[in-house]
């Protein structure tokens, strides 16, 4: 086929979290533009495996941009050059024959590398654990339509709820800050009447946990929203800031 490309990859290889890593060069041939980035890596891995070499480790699962498992800094951009795209949905037609591609793992103190391109993102789970929920038990729910939520509010909550927890925001942020991730959750939950009740406690404990985990401070550089595959806006960060400041100044009673 005429659209097949040869690419020159520079991939970060690191044996485990304790080892020092480094780049290795690979040449990949017969890459079709219809392939996804991960399928291109699959192909490389199969070639490596056939040669008895250690295949490149990377996280992936659903391959349709919803599970948030895939990651990778591709030529210095989280999830690669496509807008609102995850690595698994980034197609090779974004590249040209002969291109050099540098592939690195997410880098942040809070996201230690496990192996090669796979990193530990459990810090995000810990932020949720600190308060990213509504404290309701199974079986203890009122009739669904007893709570009215205006469409615009519900839609904005949904915009924020669309977060897939991939880590691109913190990975792309020059300060490795997790504000967009945290703000998306506090915004979703505190906008809805069922989550408003505990919003003060939630925002306090989530921000506290986020800081403890070693994420940086937000300096409003907006790289997070540019990298977010779901297009979540930093307006949510402003909203969370407002809510957090409210905890200092306001009382619920």
């Amino acid at each position: 086929m005429s659209d097949e490309m040869t690419l020159y990859l520079q991939v970060w290889r690191q044996k485990d979290s304790k080892s020092k890593g480094g780049f290795q060069n690979y040449k990949v041939e017969n890459v079709s533009g219809d392939m996804s980035f991960l399928e291109m890596l699959d192909m490389l891995n199969e070639n490596l495996a056939r040669e008895g070499k250690d295949p490149i480790q990377y996280d992936h699962d659903c391959r349709e941009g919803i599970c948030g498992a895939c990651s990778c800094m591709i030529n210095g951009e989280a999830h690669g050059p496509g807008k609102k795209t995850t690595t698994c949905e980034m197609h090779m037609r974004h590249f040209n024959d002969g291109d050099a591609i540098i592939i690195e793992p997410w880098r942040a103190k809070a996201f230690p590398v496990l192996k090669d391109l796979a990193v530990d993102r459990s810090a995000y789970d810990k932020i949720i654990m600190a308060g990213g929920f509504i404290e309701v038990k199974y079986g203890n729910a009122p009739e669904a339509n007893s709570m009215m939520v205006g469409k615009e509010v519900a839609d904005f909550a949904m915009d924020n709820a669309a977060c897939i927890g991939c880590g691109a925001c913190a990975a792309a942020c020059p300060n490795a800050s997790a504000m967009l991730f945290t703000a998306a959750k506090t915004t979703q939950l505190s906008l809805l009447p069922q989550g408003k009740v505990e919003s003060k406690k939630r925002v306090q404990s989530m921000i506290k946990k986020m800081d403890e985990l070693g994420f940086g401070n937000c300096t409003n550089e907006r790289l997070c929203e540019a990298a977010c595959p779901k297009g979540i806006s930093i307006i949510s960060i402003a909203r969370m800031n407002r809510e957090y400041m409210g905890t200092l100044l306001k009382s619920d009673y």
């Binding site: 780049f23 800094m73 030529n75 210095g76 951009e77 050059p81 807008k83 540098i102 690195e104 880098r107 942040a108 103190k109 809070a110 792309a172 020059p174 300060n175 490795a176 800050s177 504000m179 921000i207 506290k208 986020m210 800081d211 070693g214 994420f215 940086g216 401070n217 937000c218 300096t219 409003n220 550089e221 907006r222 790289l223 997070c224 929203e225 540019a226 990298a227 930093i234 307006i235 960060i237 402003a238 909203r239 969370m240 800031n241 407002r242 809510e243 957090y244 400041m245 905890t247 200092l248």
Partner: protein
Amino acid sequence: MSWVSSYFASSVGKKSVMALTGLSLVGFLVVHLVGNINMLIGSDAFNHYSHFLLSFEGIYVLEAVLAALFLLHAFFGLMIAFQNSQARPDSYSVQTKSGRGTTFASSTMPYTGTIILIFLILHLFDLKFGEHYSVPNEEGVRDIYKLVLVYFSKPLHVAWYIIAMISLAIHTSHGFWSAFQTLGFSHPKYDGFLRKSSIAYAVLVGAGFSFFAIWAYLQHGGNV
């Protein structure tokens, strides 16, 4: 009180200090710039204006507040910059500027801030604590007008001043909007307006102050 200290120890708390002090300084710059207009009216107007400020009883309190604002802003700014460098111990080997997100201004805040810090120390040293000229026939009135003109008669001083003002403009072009964002004033309805205002403010302050330095230079060192 733990809830206050924990607030200011948090990332959002620190940023809100940055935003509040920053916005106050933004306000101060406007006052300063407006005050400078007296220079264009003439030496008397300018000297009387500055005498009025210096002889005001509460001036030390105001100066202390201003210094505190500035020091807090600088201190928290440097602390944030340091902590942020810790948040990513291994940096990326490539970072692409794709035109999405970050701007030159936003990514250089600690650097432009440092230039402004150095500038401010020199500025106070050269002008506020500089040569003491007296206005003839008016006892106790400093001739600040002359001081300014003498100071800016040197092209090097003008150049340094303009560099500092460009840094200030760059700094505030992000800082102005950023303060509102940090304080939670952001909404699709007016976010665009705030961003444009931020640029407009930066241009006004940067060009405005630079204008006075150039103007002073063109007055031939106060020897007229």
